[in-house]
């Protein structure tokens, strides 16, 4: 019988694609929907010369560079150029997330579940499963890229050209594939899927922050940040294909390292070895709460540090942002020096208000993960032994909730503090306490999101992942709400939109009290439902 490293690869690819078809279609709808939907609106929003001129000035401010990337196009401006510059960084993030999702799912998760062992036991080549994932990722990215190009062609914004549309789609595809390969490599190093996901997101976050800093401080370095490659395509102006080549080359390099790493380790083991652990439980590990805290320890530390670093990174550009003299000298000349100071503050606080939503959304992610773990852990059978001990369901349920609430509060707090501390470097710094308004303002809102997550856990365990729409939409409406002229109700669809622009404005305490009340109600209802139902099984 013929037996080699790549035996049955084709079969496994077909198997993966068939199994993942709904997920793939889901991501496709999300991505092409975002791209196409925005493209359809841009001409009407930026149809006039005046609108174009004003958005270009806005995009050239440091705050906007930090969020959307540097705006380098030369006049004459068209709505297509604006579109490309506004969408690129955000879509890059979405593509990277999709690739991390599929890469980890079909490599590391598969191994954790033991499925890979079953597959390998058949006459399947040693490298076949890995090659199959690589090809699957390639196919997914390509389909997304081609559909984006087609949908852009159909949307027909002013200023688009077919070459630019193709570059847009294929550029994003190459970018996604590069991050997919990165995540696949990380999956070889980590020794479980959660670790692989966390590590991948850390790298993504790191490149994103590096890109932001270079965009604001010196765009010449954006090239080397990996993430920044995607900003160098100069779509609809120069249509520069060189970055695509770089991304493909990086992907290939990562791919070879991945294959090398995978041939040097055993199934279900990581290259980072496991050390022997404790013989006895520490006295702290004694109840469900401390157990969950212990299990979430690493990710809690990573999320907290990550958000702190993110806060610091944004805060460190306050000096560039809140400096009217530099960014808009003609205006600065007109108003007095005290007026300059207060308008500098206003600019910083306005930017801080936008960032606060970002922090709030990101802070909810670990909390939602923790709450959804109630069902995920249950399905894995991890909770059966706890339920069989003298531990009530309310104890288990509320322990998860408590860890989640604690975690998101901490994450939000450190992000704001990081931003505040780093913001001290600005010429006329805003006081640290002022930023904490955003904490009091947003905490009730993110608690409501957790409450909704709990309700989904209890009520719809099978489709609980739908709750991710809240943070995703929250981030989207925050990112694009103003640029796409979202109506008020569309911004208020998620609890993130129920908060006023803190820390620029005062905290609306009565609003907060209502949200806390709502949160409590949601938790109570969720618990009542949860306590009456069967435990889930895999």
């Amino acid at each position: 019988m013929r037996y080699n490293l790549f035996n049955q690869t084709g079969y496994i690819i077909r198997f993966y694609l068939r199994r993942d078809r709904f997920l793939i279609v889901g991501w496709l709808i999300l991505i092409v929907g975002l791209m196409g939907g925005a493209a359809a609106k841009f001409d009407s929003i930026y149809g006039t010369k005046a609108a174009l001129a004003s958005i270009v000035t806005t995009l050239k401010t440091p705050a906007m560079k930090a969020m959307f990337g540097s705006f380098t196009a030369k006049p004459p401006y068209t709505s297509a150029i604006i579109y490309a510059s506004e969408m690129m960084v955000f879509m890059g993030l979405v593509f990277a997330m999709m690739n991390i999702y599929f890469a980890v799912k079909n490599s590391r998760t598969e191994e954790d579940n033991g499925t890979l062992e079953l597959i390998r036991a058949h006459s399947v080549g040693k490298l076949s499963p890995l090659i199959a994932v690589i090809i699957e990722l390639f196919v997914i990215n390509l389909i997304n890229g081609v559909l984006i190009a087609i949908s852009l062609e159909f949307a027909g914004m002013t200023g688009t050209d077919i070459l630019g549309n193709c570059l847009f789609g294929l550029g994003l595809a190459a970018f996604g594939f590069m991050f997919g390969m990165m995540s696949l490599l990380v999956s070889q190093l980590a020794n479980n899927s959660r670790g692989a996901t966390i590590l991948s997101y850390l790298i993504l976050g790191f490149t994103y922050i590096a890109r932001m800093l270079t965009d604001v401080k010196n765009t010449n370095y954006t090239w080397i940040t990996m993430f920044g490659l995607i900003e160098k395509l100069e779509i609809y102006t120069e249509n520069n294909w060189l970055p695509v080549l770089y991304m493909v080359l990086s992907a290939l390099l990562l791919l070879f390292v991945t294959i090398f790493a995978s041939t040097h380790r055993d199934v279900a083991a990581g290259l980072i070895p496991t050390r022997p652990g404790r013989r006895n439980a520490s006295f702290l590990l004694a109840n469900p709460f401390s157990l969950i805290l212990r299990l979430e320890r690493i990710s809690l530390i990573i999320w907290t540090c990550g958000l702190f670093v993110l806060g610091i990174s944004y805060g460190s550009i306050f000096g560039n942002i809140g400096n009217l003299l530099k960014t808009n000298p003609s205006v600065a000349k007109l108003i007095g020096s005290s007026a300059i100071k207060s308008s500098n503050h206003a600019i910083i606080l306005n930017f801080a208000a936008t960032l606060s939503v970002v922090f709030a959304v990101i802070a909810t992610i670990p909390a939602v993960i923790t709450i959804l773990r109630i069902n995920n852990d249950e399905k894995k059978g991890w909770l059966e032994q706890i339920h069989a001990r003298g531990i009530s369901r309310s104890n288990i349920f509320f322990s998860y909730i408590a860890v989640a609430l604690l975690c998101e509060a901490l994450c939000l707090l450190v992000a704001l503090l990081g931003m505040g501390f780093a913001g001290m470097s600005a010429k006329d710094p805003v006081s640290l306490l002022r930023f904490l308004r955003a904490f009091s303002g947003y905490l009730p809102a993110i608690y409501v999101v957790s409450g909704i997550a709990a309700l989904f856990t209890a009520l719809f365990p099978k489709i609980q992942n739908i709750v991710w729409i809240l943070p995703i939409y929250g981030l989207f409406s925050m990112y694009f709400g103003n640029l796409l002229n979202f109506p008020k109700w569309a911004k208020q669809l998620t609890p993130y939109g129920w908060v006023n622009r803190v820390p620029l404005k005062e905290v609306q305490w009565n609003n907060g009290v209502v949200m806390i009340g709502l949160t409590l109600g949601l938790f109570l209802i969720s618990y009542l439902i949860y306590s009456k139902r069967d435990l889930l099984e895999s």
Partner: protein, 304 residues
């Protein structure tokens, strides 16, 4: 009058339309080891999960220590220990940490007995669960259960991942509990295990208890296997009341040798008649649980 630890009456459970448990009724008395046997998918684990308050029954009642298993789950669990057949544990904790945690969750501590059990079962408690095999994970649950001071122990096919050596240690520890007067529910596939340890057994099939009683009671219901050699031809033997599965062994001079089974009720009358055939040799084997098991399993639905 001995106190009842477990009382199940007409227990029913549906998963959607599928009736996993149709009618389960049995008791366990104090100090009794009860064997719960039945083929895969019969409903053993479902029954046990209802007893643990993990699943909610659709009908009937189940009480442990006289309290409802759903309503009073927490207080019941304080005096109960449980080992499932498939043990799943947090991969990034060590076996030692989990054993201690389980003990603490029942307000108990790591004792000398715990250490002794870890040694007996030959478990390395410093390893992360991620690196454990199925058997090792089962050992973690078994050690935690055996070192928990409880009044009622539930084991659901606890030895399915253990090697024979470990199985023996499991049995030794169950006997230890039995001698201490603890009550035990043991669901098992390994009949020799049940035969050795259980005072009474219940057989479940397709969501119904089809038989309960002591092993002796059940033997009474089963057939003894005979191998007989006689001087006279013995074809006519197959006509006797209570004789089944008559299989002649052909010789040159006709049928002088045969195997057959006899209903326990009819053994006396059959044996009386055998003398007339002039017995050369006779062997009888008592029914094992295996026979009993096979007999129930092979029955088509409704034939009983």
């Amino acid at each position: 009058m001995s106190e009842k630890i477990l009382e199940i009456k007409n227990l029913q459970k549906k998963f959607g339309k599928f009736e996993a448990l149709k009618n389960i009724t049995f008791d366990i008395k104090k100090g009794e080891v009860f064997g719960f046997i039945g083929p895969n998918g019969a409903g053993k684990s479902t029954t046990i999960r209802i007893l643990l308050g993990i699943l909610h029954a659709n009908g009937g009642s189940a009480k442990i220590f006289g309290k409802d298993v759903w309503q009073s789950a927490v207080s019941i669990h304080k005096r109960l220990a449980y080992v499932p057949g498939d043990v799943y544990l947090w991969p990034n904790l060590t076996g030692g940490e989990i054993i201690d945690l389980f003990l603490k969750l029942n307000q108990q501590r790591h004792s000398a007995r715990t250490d002794e059990l870890i040694k007996q079962f030959d478990l390395d408690p410093t390893k992360k669960v991620r690196t454990y095999s199925k058997g090792n994970r089962q050992k973690v649950a078994l050690i935690a259960a055996f070192s928990t001071a409880a009044d009622f122990y539930i084991f659901d096919e606890p030895t399915s991942g253990l090697d024979p050596l470990m199985e023996e240690i499991f049995q030794k520890n169950v006997m230890h509990l039995k001698n201490e007067g603890k009550s035990i529910l043991l669901s098992s596939h390994i009949l020799s295990e049940v035969e050795k340890m259980c005072d009474r057994i219940g057989i479940i099939r397709q969501g119904k208890i089809i038989e309960t009683g002591s092993l002796d009671d059940m033997r009474h219901l089963t057939r003894t296997v005979f191998v007989l050699e006689t001087q006279k031809p013995l074809e006519s033997l197959s006509q006797l009341e209570g004789v089944y599965n008559f299989k002649p062994v052909l010789d040159k001079e006709g049928v002088n040798k045969a195997t057959f089974t006899v209903d326990s009720e009819n053994i006396n009358s059959v044996l009386e008649k055998l003398v007339a055939y002039k017995i050369i040799s006779i062997q009888s084997t008592p029914p094992t649980l295996e026979d009993l098991f096979m007999r129930y399993y092979n029955q088509k639905e409704g034939s009983r």
